[in-house]
């Protein structure tokens, strides 16, 4: 059932007339640019607007490359460093105003539950929860400056750039009164354990043209396609987006064990038992021989 959720969301998004109109105009302007306070935690009741695709030919364009477009998870994998480098291409002389670059890397999403504890009969028990339909298992933002200074909130919510915005839809109606408190806690917890990273000032922009960003992927990576986006901003407004994918895959022994565990669980279970029995028997036999010698 939950596997069809993205599909349903897509259909709903396509049927929403406002969104369709905005897309057909080919405008980059956000639907509502009210500029509500930053950081803004999304209201679960509000429908999400669709992320627009690139529109043709802005005055300034991003040209970028990645040091790796695939990451292999081997047995000894302990994280990976991705270097993102690029330049800004223009036909005309450099316009006036503030120029900024933001780079985001987003891991595949997974459903999760946020629990809140309460004291019951003297012990702390999980009592209230909010189900998050899909949230990235890893999300990193690197930028040329503090996000609240270089990015207008309307553009942020349109492209879902900052950490709170990157969270996707909640599942159904939340059962609790203060859902934003849960979202806030989730961002805080994920930041603490290194799954959400914000590196304001991590990008160096040289002569308003060349930039580079180093982003470290942690060791605890999930498999899948990691979406990389590079935003070019002029005075807080997004003027160009460059997208690329990093493919993260288990290889070798990791791949084989994972496939076996999910495709042939019985065989995998029996193999785990065989390993355990052999190890137990081998150890006692081996040490007995050792002691006799």
């Amino acid at each position: 059932m939950s596997r069809h959720a993205p599909l349903i969301a897509l259909i709903v998004a396509l049927l929403l007339p406002g969104v369709v109109a905005a897309q057909s105009q080919g405008s980059l302007m956000p639907a509502d640019d009210t500029g509500a306070g930053y950081p803004l935690f999304p209201d679960p009741g509000r429908p999400r607007s669709a992320v627009p695709e690139n529109v043709p030919k802005p005055a300034e364009q991003v040209v970028a490359g990645l040091s790796d477009d695939s990451v292999s998870i081997t047995t000894s994998f302990d994280g990976s460093e991705i270097l993102i480098y690029g330049a800004i291409r223009r036909e005309a002389p450099i316009p006036e105003g503030r120029l900024d670059v933001i780079v985001t890397i987003e891991a595949p999403s997974q459903p999760m539950t946020i629990w809140r504890k309460q004291r019951r009969l003297g012990i702390w028990v999980n009592t209230e929860r909010v189900e998050v339909g899909a949230a990235p298992s890893y999300y990193a933002v690197s930028s040329t400056g503090p996000l609240d200074q270089i990015l207008l909130p309307g553009w942020d919510s349109r492209y879902r750039i900052s950490l709170p915005q990157a969270l996707r839809a909640f599942e159904g109606a939340p059962e609790v009164a203060d859902a934003p408190a849960f979202t806030q806690a989730m961002v805080r917890l994920r930041e603490d354990d290194g799954h959400f990273r914000l590196d304001e000032g991590g990008i160096e922009l040289a002569q308003d043209t060349l930039f580079r960003a180093d982003i470290r992927l942690p060791a605890n990576l999930l498999e899948g396609d990691y979406k990389t986006r590079i935003f070019l901003l002029r005075d807080g407004q997004v003027i160009d987006v460059h997208r690329a994918a990093i493919e993260v895959r288990k290889v070798g022994l990791e791949r084989w064990l994972y496939n076996l565990a999910f495709d042939q669980p019985l065989l995998y279970g029996l193999m785990s038992l065989a390993v355990a029995v052999l190890a137990g028997w081998g150890a006692s036999a081996g040490f007995r021989k050792l002691r006799r010698a």
Binding site: T75, Q110, T113, K117, S137, L189, G269, S272, A276
Partner: protein, 304 residues
């Protein structure tokens, strides 16, 4: 050296895991306990997801109990008939336990129930062991008359009696079956063998002679934990063989060191030390339940 665990999808230090297995192995060699009840909470502590810690813990117990039961079979101290009855109960209990585990996981209460189980059982066992070893120390100083083989109580009035020749018993099959079920449930929920429950139950409740108790309980544990591992692997894909292998390698080496060490130390004092250790772990877990946690919120990722 970092190792990426294929099922847990976390990267951990291989030497930490082997050290952990080794430490628990030394304790099991020293004190004659399986060590499952120490490994599972330690795995929680280093960041292995609880579901995977429990399933893989069961797999690790298979390895340590196999090597134990082989040694006991050589000494002919395994009551296969009693083991079979306990096993029948154990398989039922294990099936129930895996079901309960799944329900708890959906309710978000796995951690709480597992923690509560640990507090209750570690408290009981620690207290019992401390009392028993203090009494043994006192008895060593003031020797008294011989105790009776076993007392007759309500256990001996139940129907469906059966002869257990190796144990020299003629009792109803209901109590051993129930003991088996209880241990099976614990094995599935806590990722332990349950020897620490079964051994006292066999001695005090069933009245089995001490010399066959350890071998018989190991016999039952081997099969129940093997069944539990298989159930977890087939229904929830939560057994991480790489993690199990690292723990087992550390564990078997540690067990041999522990056995050698144990021969050089005095038994009663060792038992008091173990009792104090078990009580300390229990107190730590209990405090976590009662004190206000650092963070009221927690995130649980669900299966895709």
């Amino acid at each position: 050296m970092q190792i990426y665990l294929p099922i847990a999808e976390v990267s951990v230090n291989a030497f930490t895991l082997m050290g952990l297995g080794g430490l628990v192995g030394v304790m099991s060699g020293l004190f004659g306990v399986g060590g499952g009840f120490l490994i599972t909470p330690l795995l929680f502590f280093i960041g292995i997801p609880p579901t995977i810690a429990v399933a893989t813990g069961a797999n690790q117990v298979v390895a340590s109990s196999v090597s134990g039961v082989l040694a006991h079979m050589k000494r002919k101290t395994v009551d296969f008939r009693m083991g079979g009855v306990l096993l029948a109960g154990g398989l039922i209990g294990s099936g129930l336990g895996v079901l309960v585990f799944n329900i708890l996981q959906r309710l978000g209460q796995v951690e709480l129930v597992v923690q509560l189980c640990y507090v209750v059982f570690l408290g009981l066992i620690g207290g019992m062991m401390l009392q028993e070893s203090l009494r043994a120390l006192r008895r060593a100083r003031h020797p008294t008359g011989r105790r009776r083989l076993h007392q007759h109580n309500w256990v001996h009035r139940l129907p469906f009696k059966m002869k257990f020749r190796t144990s020299g018993l003629y009792i109803s099959v209901i109590p051993p079956l129930l003991v088996g079920v209880a241990v099976g449930v614990l094995a599935a929920i806590m990722g332990v063998g349950g020897g620490f429950i079964m051994v006292p139950a066999m001695i005090y409740l069933l009245g089995m002679p001490t010399k066959v108790v350890v071998g018989t309980s190991l016999f039952q544990i081997t099969f129940v934990t093997a069944f539990t591992t298989l159930m977890h692997a087939v229904s929830y894909n939560t057994v991480d063989v790489m993690l199990a292998l690292l723990l087992i390698v550390g564990g078997v080496i540690g067990a041999q060191i522990g056995t050698t060490l144990g021969a050089k130390l005095r038994a009663e004092q060792l038992r008091i030390l173990l009792a104090l250790l078990v009580l300390a772990v229990c107190a730590k877990l209990a405090l976590d339940l009662f004190l206000t946690p650092d963070d009221l919120y927690s995130i649980v990722t669900r299966v895709r």
